[in-house]
């Protein structure tokens, strides 16, 4: 999928300014930036939740799905997990239960979870359910907006592992948005750095992390807290 000259304006304020970005088939593109950099607005534009100017080509925009930051708000509390996951399926009623079970197993959840309500699940499990629901629509692109920032460290790892295995097993293309550079570095093939609505640097993960070219990327890398480094 190719995003070309995408701009989002809210009145006089330009939230996303002329962004051009390619998301290669089967690759995870990590988008980092600080609050207010426009990364979430870009995600909303890509998924069609805000109006934009510019062009998105190479993907059916109706087959772009999104996973949200807060797994406690993204599942309907009055619907069972199975009903939530089944919502995006375009299948005859008889085939749905089997497909829900297949989707849940893709995100490493037992089929019995389908009968449960979201309140019975932990944050990490809910986030897996949200991913399973998005996968049900057979997306060409999955947009993951800060999907681990509401999770505890001890469960974050399993969600990140899942994200990587989905790319390997399903060849899923993904736009992975996070403020956490270490997390983005771990899952992404390509890293794009956003600052004040513009993309300031894009490149293969190793290059951007090991040899940043833009000053802002450098200051961002420098600020990442590291265990055992005493400042």
């Amino acid at each position: 999928m190719i995003i070309k000259n995408l701009t989002v304006r809210f009145g006089a304020f330009t939230a996303v300014d002329d962004v051009t970005l390619e998301i290669p088939q089967g690759a995870i593109v990590g988008l980092v930036g600080e609050s207010g950099s426009g990364k979430s607005t870009l995600a909303k534009a890509v998924t069609g939740l805000v109006r934009y100017t510019g062009e998105i080509s190479g993907a059916d925009t109706r087959r772009i799905q999104m996973v949200f930051q807060n797994p406690y708000a993204s599942l309907n509390p009055r619907m069972t997990v199975g009903a939530s996951v089944a919502e995006g399926l375009r299948l005859p009623r008889a085939d749905r239960a089997a497909e829900v079970e297949r989707l849940l197993s893709l995100v490493s959840l037992p089929g019995a979870v389908a009968q449960r309500y979201p309140r019975e699940l932990s944050g990490g499990m809910r986030q897996r359910v949200a991913i399973a629901r998005a996968l049900g629509a057979r997306p060409e692109l999955l947009v993951a907006d800060e999907i681990t920032s509401a999770l505890d460290v001890s469960v974050q790892g399993s969600v990140l592992n899942l994200v990587r295995s989905l790319r390997e097993e399903l060849g899923l293309s993904m736009l992975f948005i996070s403020h956490n550079l270490a997390v983005v570095r771990y899952v992404s093939d390509v890293v794009a750095v956003m600052h004040q609505g513009r993309l300031v640097e894009t490149g293969p993960t190793e290059e951007v992390v090991d040899a940043p070219r833009h000053d802002y990327t450098r200051s961002l890398l420098e600020a990442v807290p590291r265990l055992g480094r005493v400042s």
């Binding site: 069609g48 708000a73 309907n76 974050q156 403020h179 590291r226 055992g228």
Partner: protein, 606 residues
């Protein structure tokens, strides 16, 4: 249901409504014949043994008529409420389903109807629909519809912004289905509660219409009609009007009380079942440490219902030392800091074996001196700086207040010191900033202001509870540096609370790891990466991706989840998630020394 019957209002409402419903069911079969029997020899009688409420102009017994009229009154009220609720809910839900322009038209119509006097709307509809019960029911039904529409619209708008509605839209779920599956079920509860109260109001309004002669027409009769017929005789035989009046009043009060009580019961959160009590402090407490700024022994915080988020926690912080208190959400770390600052919210209960600040036992101090000690020697920095700043006041004034209240400084001196402190935390143009309001500052700047506020006195202890969690990494870095600088300069002890083990590892001298309300390990920061002994600490460190993590390997993660404060059992709370767990872990492991300045609570620590 039990809550409903516990409050006097709830009990009264339930009883009244039950009586009314029983009356509506059994009234007509029992007293129906009596109420209709015309008796020319007993016309317009007053109170007597045979006719406790007298008789009407055809000699019919009024008490029997009141008993029988209950059914019609309640049925009409029910019908009216249903009409109002259905019209209102549909009108209120339409804007979420219709395209933008149609939505605007409906919203505008509802707004206009809400502004229109209800009684006029009712009269107008009643006159158009024709005199009689049908007109009154339609009239009042239409009159209460705008209220329902507005409520539905407001509730639906709040749910429409939820992530799960966005997700459903993205999946291509049609608008109508989004409404019926996602929006309506999530707003049904307040709507149904409102229905009960509306029923009471409809009953009163219908009685009013009948009383004015606009409602039920003879030979049918409801309470309002009976009141209308009895009213002309109220001066010579008041009982004939009082009977139906009392019935109307009791029914109206009953439904309103029940509605109120239902709403209150729904708002109340369920209290969890009672869990096992926490064993009291078991070990002998050693002599107090004269050097320590903060010394906590056996701190326990409990909430009603056996919820114990902090369980026998002990902690010591020395001057100039930064101690990191790290744990995941629900580990009790923030309540620990609240307990030290005396800020545990009601109905939480704090017990300590010892709580010493600056060498003084806080439990032995009188309330006033305790507040003074906390006010001058403790500085607290929270995650959200706006929680500590008054949005209506200039930041300089808020800082100066600390000096005028606790140190008795004059206003000019206090202001000067405030500007000086702002300068000290590296706020550019401190004099201009001091005259600004908190909302004019960025998040990082506000956090600096809060730190400056702590520096107005001479803090001996700084408690920073997730102070950088809401900030960007570059700003986080600056705030961490500032905390380090401030600790070094003032020689204060700093307790830094965070869920982020990387930040703790970068800033602190010593790390205290909490799990399920207990300290599981305490170690010097340089041991964190390679020398941690508790399996939980090791797993936390391993599961954290950093800039050197091997990308070809899967990340470590811990299966399961941390038990909630009400679920913690007697043994090691981490055992169910632990790869090393053995039979011994059913018994609680004590926190015991494990090398220099290092202690761990684990039977299987290696």
């Amino acid at each position: 249901m039990r809550h409903l019957l516990r409050s006097p209002a709830g009990l009264a409402g339930t009883t009244l409504v039950t009586i009314m419903v029983i009356l509506a069911i059994i009234g007509p079969p029992i007293w129906g014949a009596e109420a209709e029997r015309i008796n020319p020899s007993a016309i317009l009688q007053g109170v007597s043994d045979a006719h406790p409420l007298g008789t009407d102009n055809l000699g019919r017994d009024i008490l029997a008529r009141v008993m029988v009229a209950g059914r019609l009154s309640l049925l009409l009220a029910l019908l009216t409420t249903l009409i109002g609720a259905v019209i209102g809910t549909v009108l209120g839900a339409l804007p979420s389903v219709l395209p933008r322009r149609g939505a605007r038209v409906v919203t505008g119509t509802v707004n206009a109807l809400v502004a229109f006097p209800g009684l006029l709307l009712a009269m107008f509809t009643a006159v158009v629909a024709g005199l009689g019960a049908k007109g009154a029911v339609l009239g009042i039904g239409v009159a209460i519809a705008p209220g329902f529409a507005r409520l539905t619209q407001t509730l639906a708008a709040s749910v429409a912004g939820a992530d799960y509605v966005s997700a459903a839209r993205m999946l291509g779920v049609p608008r109508m289905r989004v409404m019926t599956r996602h929006v309506l079920p999530n707003i049904a509860e307040p709507l149904i509660l409102n229905l009960t109260q509306a029923l009471g109001s409809a009953l009163l309004a219908l009685a009013g219409m009948s009383f004015l002669g606009l409602g039920v027409q003879p030979p049918s009769f409801d309470w309002g009609r009976l009141l209308f017929e009895g009213f002309s005789r109220i001066y010579d035989t008041p009982a004939v009007a009082l009977g139906p009046a009392v019935a109307v009043a009791l029914a109206g009060i009953g439904f309103n009380l029940l509605g109120d009580a239902l709403a209150r019961a729904a708002a109340r959160t369920t209290t969890p079942a009672k869990a096992a009590p926490v064993p009291a402090a078991r070990q002998e407490i050693e002599e107090p440490d004269p050097e320590a700024v903060l010394e906590v022994r056996d701190l326990t915080v409990t909430f009603p219902g056996g919820v114990t988020p902090v369980r026998g926690l002990s902690l010591t912080v020395a001057p100039g030392e930064i101690v990191g208190l790290v744990g995941e959400s629900g580990s009790g770390k923030s309540l620990t800091s609240s307990a030290i600052g005396g800020l545990v919210p009601y109905p939480g209960k704090v017990t300590t074996g010892r709580l010493r600040l600056c060498g003084v036992d806080l439990a032995e101090l009188p309330e006033q001196e305790r507040r003074k000690l906390l006010g001058t020697s403790l500085a607290m920095v929270f995650q959200d700086p706006m929680a500590s700043l008054n949005p209506a006041l200039r930041v300089g004034g808020q800082l100066a207040e600390v000096a005028t209240v606790h140190q008795g400084a004059s206003r000019e001196k206090a202001w000067e010191r405030a500007v000086d402190r702002l300068d000290h935390v590296h706020i550019p143009e401190p004099e201009r900033r001091a005259r600004q309001h908190p909302h004019e500052l960025s998040g990082g700047m506000r956090q600096r202001v809060v730190i400056a506020m702590g520096l107005m006195g001479t803090p001996r202890l700084i408690i920073a509870d997730e102070p950088t969690t809401a900030l960007d990494v570059t700003v986080q870095r600056q705030i961490l540096r500032l905390l380090r600088q401030v600790t070094a300069e003032t020689g204060a002890a700093t307790l830094f609370i965070s869920h982020d083990i990387a930040v703790v590892g970068e800033l602190c001298d010593r790390v205290v790891v909490m799990y399920a309300g207990r300290v599981v390990e305490e170690l010097p920061v340089d041991q964190l990466v390679t020398g941690a002994a508790h399996p939980y600490t090791r797993a936390l460190v391993a599961s954290l991706p950093d800039m050197d993590t091997d990308r070809s390997l899967p990340l470590a993660s811990i299966p399961g989840r941390q038990p909630a404060p009400a679920e913690v059992g007697a043994g090691c709370a981490f055992a169910p998630r632990c790869a090393l767990a053995s039979d011994r872990c059913a018994e609680l492991p004590p926190l015991i020394p494990y090398g220099k300045a290092h202690s761990v609570a684990c039977w299987e620590a290696q």
